[in-house]
């Protein structure tokens, strides 16, 4: 049986320009893997749709889940004002998450903007691999989760304006290090334009790539069919559900 859980907010703080980190806890803590998401009900009747956030990290011993979110619209603004000790309703973990084959020993994690928030939970789930994290941000003031990923991986940073790390796109930075690192797989989350540029950089290179897609979502459990992603299947191009068949898909199967 699946269940709707009550989560308690442990902390909810601004960690970068218009970006917040929220840590929540529940006694009845379920198993989860990197790449899954949490669907949170806002404490506002006027805003009835839940908001899906990737599980940025989790701690089974402490029974906590961490999310990192940008204050973009009314919903995230309301969420940013939630205080420690508050209780919210949430469905989690949802979605397929990543599935790391045994043969993936060296892994490149690639995040663009808040897409980096998908990455820290991956080494938490599979700690016995070698990780290289490629993090791209618009500018230094938007950089998040660097300390977390620095503990678990070797990190490489690019910013659009050069205010942190190298100036330029993180996908180019990744491409420049491929021969040196020789990753067995690339796991990536970012805006769709980044996936397109990643696909170009990797043309002719035979490394499995898995990406996590973001969609406006309804029920989160597979019933309402609003979070459709166009994916190549044996029966042709089909709309699959980000909430159940995704949000993680092999990049080369996604119609971007």
């Amino acid at each position: 049986m699946m269940k709707d859980r009550i989560i308690e907010v442990i902390s909810n703080v601004c960690i970068a320009s218009e970006i917040f980190e929220m840590v929540v806890s529940t006694d009845d803590f379920p198993d989860m893997v990197g790449g899954q998401f949490i669907h949170i009900a806002l404490p506002s009747e006027a805003h009835p749709l839940r908001r899906p956030f990737c599980i940025a990290d989790y701690d089974t011993a402490e029974k906590t889940v961490t999310i990192v979110y940008a204050v973009l619209g009314e919903g995230t603004k309301i969420l940013s004002k939630v205080t420690a000790g508050s209780q919210l309703k949430a469905l989690f973990p949802l979605g397929n998450g990543f599935d790391l084959d045994e043969s993936f020993k060296t892994i490149a994690l690639v995040g663009g903007g808040l897409g980096v928030a998908v990455l820290p939970a991956i080494p938490t789930t599979w700690p016995d691999r070698e990780y290289h994290s490629f993090l791209g941000f618009a500018q230094a003031s938007k950089a998040v989760l660097i300390d977390n990923l620095n503990r678990k991986s070797k990190i490489y940073i690019a910013t659009d304006d050069g205010s942190l790390g190298e100036k330029g796109f993180v996908t180019s930075l990744l491409a420049s290090k491929l021969n040196e690192i020789k990753p067995d797989a690339i796991l990536c989350c970012g805006p769709e334009i980044m996936y397109k540029s990643l696909a170009r950089e990797l043309e002719g290179i035979d490394i499995p790539v898995f990406i996590s897609l973001e969609r406006r979502m309804g029920c989160g459990v597979g019933a309402c069919l609003v979070c459709n992603c166009k994916v190549k299947t044996a029966k042709g191009d089909k709309y699959l559900r980000a909430c159940v068949e995704g949000p993680v898909f092999p990049m080369r199967e996604v119609i971007l």
């Binding site: 009747e45 979502m217 459990v221 019933a223 309402c224 069919l225 979070c227």
Partner: protein, 301 residues
Amino acid sequence: MSNLKVNIAGVDFKNPIIPASGTFGFGREYNEFYPIAELGGFSTKGLTLVERDGNANPRIAESPMGMLNSVGLQNPGVDYFLKNYLPWLKTIDTKIIANVAGSTVEDYISICDKVSVDGVDMVELNISCPNVKAGGAALGIDPKNVEMITRAVRDACKKQLMIKLTPNVANIADNARAAEAGGADAISLINTVGGMVVNYKTRRPVLANIMGGVSGAAIKPIALKMVWQCYNAVNIPIIGLGGITSYTDVLEFMICGASAVQIGAANIYDPMASYNILKDLERYVAENNIDINELVGTLKV
């Protein structure tokens, strides 16, 4: 003596709580949260003769106290439903309403024929989708077309036939009368209210389809009014829906003339919504020793 059993056009429902089409899939997802057999029944995702991919995304947007959707009837097709979903649904002790749609009158006739099988208790006709015969407009708009399509499928449909009315019309009571004249056994209302959500910063609509259908608490007053109007216009039973999120909403719809209700957007907000509304309603009728049927149409005016 307290009672929640209702009878809609000869079909017995163990209670009046019925998840609405498009918000409940084919029941499997919610059965992971609670036994859906406890519900009166549910209306399936809208079925078409052949599989449909539906609209591009985004397909959902929020609006104050509500939401908009423009899924575009994505569904695996009626044959897939009959082969892959219905056998499991037959094992669930709840009433199954097959919601069907078409783009031509012939489509509607053949799909009504196909779903008239064991395991389907009722057919709900979605006449709010664009139709070739009506020049791309929905058949549900003009009362003449409502009567025409109801009459056209009446013989092919061997199950109780319910016409789902759209609120985007001149006078919904006329459309209710047209459904009754065409031979409908029941009507359900309201479908979503046409709407848009716009982002002033990007100057773009949020929905890829530009327009969508509004549901949720925002449309409840519209739905209550229309249920009351139709209750006063026809003798066939009404299943009321539109923004129901609590047991008190259920009571209000029944007082306005609904013999049962459907729960829509609330299932999307909260997977436990229909179940929780049912449990609250059970408590209310027990505590007040009410037969729910006695409430129907008792609005004091």
